[in-house]
Structures are given as structure tokens and as C-alpha cells.
């Protein structure tokens, strides 16, 4: 089996992470997988207004995902869309299980994710960047979240599909987010057709891929602290 860009079925594109890229935010991170680049900024915890949205039992999380207008080959009209609203929602749900927001009643943590350059797997890159940014903002969390998309292309289960593979006939796209330590799945979407065996194989691939991404996230956070020390 041969992939378009010559990768093996379990080989991801080049992965890169960086923390502390936005000075005015409380936490920020950059994550790149191949040609897909995501940046995330975290603001808060801060008091939530209007007041009726507040929850006196725990803080709430708000996520905002969007593509920049120049991130795709044809200009994307700026502003929220049906697609970005859905992805904001799944991002929030994939991050909430690891966050401990009970310490911040009536408060809100805002996460803004912007895709600077898109080449498939943007929601996964966004979740990965957001999880690093939340750790940088000092919000108590039980784990980091890493995400990668697996898929079925021409009958083969492969990891980290790019745009070309995504657009082939009968392609199946499965974005998966997994926590770093406890290996729990916090996001699993499926668009297309797969058998049970293929899905299980895909999840195994994603687990291995997420281990590698987790290492990158860990290294980026530690490097940030070390760099700050050496300034």
C-alpha cells in the first residue's frame, strides 16, 4: 500500500509544538502537524457576564474554533458558521473531562482556537493546542489531551490523513482525542463507513499517534519553563 505523500500507514506528518506565543493571553500555544497549523489562546478564569450564565457550582468553559480566512485554498468567509459552531462544541466536550473547574465557581475560562493553515485534521490540531494552552494558563487539569485523525483510504486504515486523502472516494475520517496518562477517549467522530475491526484498528493507531503527540506537548511545556529560566 502506498500513500500519496509516501508515508507508511502508521506514520504521522511532522509534529511541532510551542507554548507562550501570545503575551497578552493567560495561556497560549501553537501546534503544527504537517501543513495544518493551529494556535490557541486561553483567557481566565475570570468573572462571567451576563450573570445568568454563571454556575455557582463550577466554572464553565467556552471554546471558540475558527478558520482564518486565508487558511484554505479558497477564501473562507470570516465569522462563525455551522461547521465552526459544531467543532467548538466538540472541542469543549473533549477538554471538559480533564479540567477541574470546581475551584472557580461563577467564573469562565475562554479558549480561542484559530487555524492559521488548514490541511485536514484541524479540529485535532486545535484540541491539542488548546490543551497545551490550558496547562500554560495554570488551570488545574488531571491530564493533557492529544488528538489525531485516523481514517480508511482505499480499504486501508491509516493515521493522520491529509486533505488529498480525505477527498478520495469512499474515504472515512475519524478524529480521535485521547488523554495522555489514562488513555481515555474524549472525542470520537466518524464520517463514512468502517467495520468494527477496522475501527478498533484505527483506535489502536490513534493511541500510538497520541503517545507521540503527548511527548511533543510535554516537551513544549517543559521547554517553555526552561527558556523562561534562561532568559
Amino acid at each position: 500500500m502506498k500513500r500519496n505523500d509516501g508515508r507508511k500507514h502508521d506514520e504521522m506528518r511532522k509534529v511541532e509544538g510551542k507554548v507562550g506565543i501570545i503575551k497578552r493571553a493567560d495561556g497560549s500555544a501553537y501546534f503544527r502537524i504537517g501543513d495544518t497549523i493551529a494556535i490557541a489562546a486561553v483567557h481566565g478564569p475570570r468573572e462571567l457576564h451576563p450573570k445568568f450564565l454563571q454556575n455557582p457550582e463550577r466554572g464553565i468553559l467556552r471554546c471558540n474554533y475558527d478558520l482564518m480566512s486565508f487558511s484554505v485554498p479558497e477564501r473562507k468567509r470570516p465569522g462563525p458558521s455551522r461547521r465552526s459552531t459544531e467543532i467548538s462544541m466538540v472541542t469543549k466536550q473533549s477538554l471538559l473531562p480533564v479540567l477541574d473547574l470546581e475551584q472557580f465557581p461563577n467564573a469562565v475560562v475562554d479558549v480561542f482556537i484559530q487555524i492559521v493553515q488548514a490541511n485536514a485534521g484541524t479540529r485535532c490540531a486545535g484540541i491539542t493546542a488548546a490543551s497545551m494552552a490550558l496547562a500554560h494558563a495554570g488551570i488545574p487539569m488531571s491530564d493533557l489531551v492529544s488528538a489525531v485523525a485516523v481514517g480508511k483510504i482505499n480499504g486501508d486504515v491509516v493515521i493522520d490523513i491529509d486533505k488529498y486523502e480525505e477527498d478520495t472516494d469512499n474515504a472515512t475520517d475519524i478524529p480521535i482525542a485521547i488523554t495522555g496518562r489514562s488513555k481515555e477517549i474524549t472525542l470520537l467522530q466518524l464520517d463514512g463507513e468502517v467495520s468494527k475491526d477496522e475501527l478498533m484498528k484505527g483506535i489502536e493507531l490513534a493511541k500510538n499517534g497520541c503517545d507521540k503527540i503527548f511527548e511533543v506537548q510535554r516537551k513544549a511545556l517543559i521547554d517553555f519553563i526552561k527558556e523562561k529560566k534562561n532568559e
Binding site: 495561556g27 495554570g138 493533557l144
Partner: protein, 228 residues
């Protein structure tokens, strides 16, 4: 038998295992998950016998009882002021906790106006979201003149030093009055702007080199070099 997986002053990330077994206890910034102790924050490990703690290196100020903070009057109601103390919530300063006696119904702007800066003490915290301040006590006052700088709250202990050694050195060498708020705001007042500038430079230098051993001696050299 429990096993420790990290060393003192290691940098850890959320979700990292710190120790196995029941012999160790989690403190601030860490928690227990079945047999293991896990970090929940980005920071440095601090081990005290069996207790493992994480000193966070980033993040907002977390209010603690009896902390001296520098606040800004953000709003006022009938019975007190709302003070921005650089954390997730606004703090309350009631009129009965003001430095002098104030009649009910008095015009509160006569005592503290909007955007005024005050040095106050945290006297009560109820499950985080309600913070009460007091202005009664030595060293608690309005701020007039001088300048305010902001640093990362987690670096405040280094600015103060052991038993105030660092801040005393700064005061002595720069002839400035320096008040350090635990929330990362520092008030500097000197006789002239050169002194204030010198103190500001020194504090920013401490913030960026907070990990260096023997920093007090190094700062002494730095400040004496500036004097010439």
C-alpha cells in the same frame, strides 16, 4: 513500598505521575488517582518528607487568607467598595473594614474614589468566590504617588526573599519605599524618578532570574554597580 518518580525542583506537566503507592501524600497542585499521585499543574516539584507539592509557575493569583495585596477600586455600592485584585474575582471592602469610621449613607467617593490604589489585607475567603478585604492594621493605606509595576504572582516570594532580605536590600540600595502585594503588584516610591527606575530594573531582573542561587548577593553587586 511507595516509589518516588520525580526529584525536587523537577519541572512537571499536568497528568504526570509523581509517585506510586500510598506512602506519599498529595498537596497543592497534585491529587491521588488510586495508587498514584498525579500532578495537576505545570510547575516545580517540592517534596517535604511524605508530602508532594507542585509550585505553579504560571497562572493567575490565587487569593489566600492574610495576604497583603494591592488593589484598585473598581466599583462601589451602598456599604462598600469592589476592588480589583488581579484575580478571577473582585474583592469586597466593607465600610466597617475601612481605615476610619464611616457613617452609613456617606458619600463613599470621599474616602476611596474610582481607580484609586490601596494596600489591603485579605481577611475572609468563602469558597473562593467571595473575598473580603480590610484596611485596618499597620501598613495598610491608600497609595499616593510613586509607581506600580506588575509581575507574575508566583515570583513574589523571590522579590521578598528569606525574611524579607531581598526587599530590604532593594529599599536600602535604591532609597525607595517598596510595598510588595502578594498578587504581583509592586508599589515603588522614591525621592526621584532615577531611584524608582533603578528599583524597577532590579525587580524585573529578579523576576527573570528568579531561579539563580545566591540571587541576593548577585543583586547586591548589580545595585552597587548601578550606584557608581
Amino acid at each position: 513500598m511507595g516509589k518516588l518518580l520525580v526529584k525536587e525542583k523537577d519541572i512537571v506537566v499536568p497528568g504526570q505521575e509523581l509517585a506510586n503507592g500510598m506512602d506519599y501524600l498529595p498537596a497543592g497542585g497534585s491529587f491521588r488517582d488510586k495508587e498514584n499521585i498525579i500532578s495537576s499543574q505545570l510547575g516545580l516539584v517540592s517534596i517535604d518528607n511524605r508530602v508532594i507539592k507542585i509550585i505553579p509557575l504560571t497562572g493567575k493569583y490565587i487569593p489566600k487568607l492574610n495576604d497583603i495585596v494591592i488593589g484598585r477600586i473598581a466599583d462601589m455600592g451602598f456599604s462598600g467598595w469592589y476592588v480589583d485584585i488581579n484575580c478571577a474575582y473582585e474583592a469586597n471592602l466593607m465600610i466597617r473594614d475601612a481605615s476610619e469610621f464611616i457613617d452609613r449613607g456617606a458619600d463613599l467617593t470621599q474616602f476611596h474614589d474610582f481607580n484609586e490604589l490601596i494596600v489591603a489585607k485579605i481577611v475572609q475567603i468563602t469558597r473562593f468566590s467571595k473575598i473580603d478585604l480590610s484596611m485596618k492594621g499597620p501598613g495598610l493605606h491608600k497609595i499616593k504617588g510613586g509607581k506600580i509595576i506588575e509581575i507574575t504572582p508566583s515570583k513574589v516570594p523571590r522579590i521578598i526573599g528569606k525574611q524579607g532580605s531581598m526587599v530590604n536590600l532593594l529599599k536600602e540600595k535604591t532609597n525607595c519605599q517598596i510595598t510588595v502585594g502578594q498578587n504581583g503588584r509592586i508599589w515603588i516610591q522614591g525621592n526621584n524618578s532615577d531611584d524608582e527606575l533603578k528599583a524597577t530594573e532590579a525587580i524585573l531582573k529578579i523576576e527573570s532570574e528568579s531561579h539563580v542561587d545566591g540571587l541576593t548577593d548577585k543583586m547586591k553587586e548589580f545595585l552597587e554597580g548601578k550606584k557608581k
